[in-house]
Amino acid sequence: MNHLLEIRNLQVELKTELGPVYPVQGADLIVRRGETLCLVGESGCGKSLTMMSVMGLLPPGSRIQADRFHLEGETLLTLDEHAYRKLRGPVIGMIFQDAMAAFNPVLRIGDQLAEPLRVHKGFSRKAAWVRAVEWLDRVGIVEPEKRARFYPHEFSGGMLQRAMIAMALITEPDLVIADEPTTALDVSVQAEILDLLRSLLSERQAGLVMITHDLGVVAEMADRVTVMYAGRTIEEASGAEFFARLSHPYSRGLMACTPNWRAGAVPVTPIPGLPPALTAVQTGCAFRFRCAEAMVICAEKPEITEVAAGHRVACWLNRKPDVLAAAVRGVDEEGAMDVDD
């Protein structure tokens, strides 16, 4: 089966003044055509960096490696910058969190929308402008001819986010990456934007990766869910399966700190502590320091394994009793031995 995007065991190395850091060390995810993947986790868990490596836009001096890093069956690892640039826009589009900051303040909205069409698709200035106006109309901007001549500061936040969706989709990409597209917006506008995004993408069977930490949005949008912690994928499942069987203590923790206003709901419980620093060397399960269910065995790194069809978890709690028993015996006897499946 050909996935639109398939990432297996992605490692990202960033160059810093203090030496290399490894903010992503084992990201796994899959996006299929027409599906929405929600990438979940606290800030600093490597979600954005994972997606920036898909865009090929990591800071200079960064290095990535992976077992699989494929877009429509082709590896992205060996692409040179010139070939990569042709993917950005026509094949992979990106929607940013802060729309106001993602537009150049001194260029007209219409010109910024039209630009990728001229660069990638050879549109004339006029044809590109006409298409930009069409797209502004399609994302629900009233009086698009007039508004296309506006500058970003003349748009409201919600309008800018709509314009940004138009800007990402105007080159008709197959994969769209949305980095917290609604966190900067009013709650009332959030739902409209999400609906818009979903309807525009389902028209064209494009895949969507949505980076978010709002489980409400996940429940609303996700065909698949991938949870990352400390640069690693710790749980992935289909949307329905994920909420039916939250299998990693971290996923349950995220759920417990999502407000629920239904009558009789339990109060919000935060997860104690913070995610580990990126410079920290990870041994074992990175979550064990904050985990209420941590065991001795958690000092060993749990491999990510399937607990149900399409549902994979990296946690000792989800291992079959015999595997766990064997592993525990190993720990007892030798302290820190490698554990294989």
Binding site: R88, G89, A101, P105, V106
Partner: protein, 314 residues
Amino acid sequence: MKRYIIQRLLYAFITIWFVATATFFAMHWVPGDPLSGEKAVSPEIFANLQAHYGLDKPLLEQYFIYMGNLLRGDLGVSFTQQNRLVNDIIGEHFVISATMGIVALFMAFFGALIFATIATVYRGRLPDRLTMVAVLISVSVPGFVFAALAQLAIVQINQWRGEQWLPVAGWGTLAHVWAPALMLGLGTMAYLTRLMRGSLIDIDSQPYLLAARARGLPPWRCFVRYQLRNALLPALSVMGPTITSITTGGFVVEQVFAIPGLGRYFIQAVAQLDYTVIMGTTVFYGAFLVLVVLVFDLLYGWADPRIRVSRALA
């Protein structure tokens, strides 16, 4: 917009009036007068001269006569230069100062553009550090020191080549322009380089630049349209003060390179208390700078849509 321009022109007029008035009284307050020279003159001739130039009248009356003439655009006659009209002096010699100033400004602006780009591209590495050291030296050492050093260098090069590669001083041909203009623009170039480098580096981490790259725009397009264009705005906003400093810097450079620009006449006039030339050049430079600043403020508004009058209010 029209109202804004009219308002600014009114302020400009008031500023120029104030400059003229302050200069007039300050100048007359200075002991001495333009008619007492080294040659002994009999009291009768002196009185005749005073009457001829109107210096025997009460100061306030002289002031009103001068202001009346000024409004009609008549700047009077020089006391020291064989009855030349001040209007003619300014007309002939300002062209020279302006030519040098414009060349200096262009050199400063485009030099800054190039050096700031180099410094940004090679940030933290040798080209950047060299540029920043050069910037530091150029903003801290006064322009006339560089002017004299440049002359020395030109003499050395001419000797070494055994021919007149560049003239050391004087005015007349295109070759006379380069050295003084470069020396005049150097401080400004350094200042603008530092300013543009700062903006370029700041924009490096702006999301809109990342967003432009995420749309697959080619690197040069990202740089020119999203980075450089925005980085020019702060430089444009200091153009008024920049032109002021190039204009006043010109006075000194003209002296060093023996260029017959207006600055030299201004300095001579002050030394000789040539009342009409002092007034004429001061009012002229004052008006020139006030208008240049106004023009660049309007240009800045055109270049940066954010400070234009809002569409909703217009």
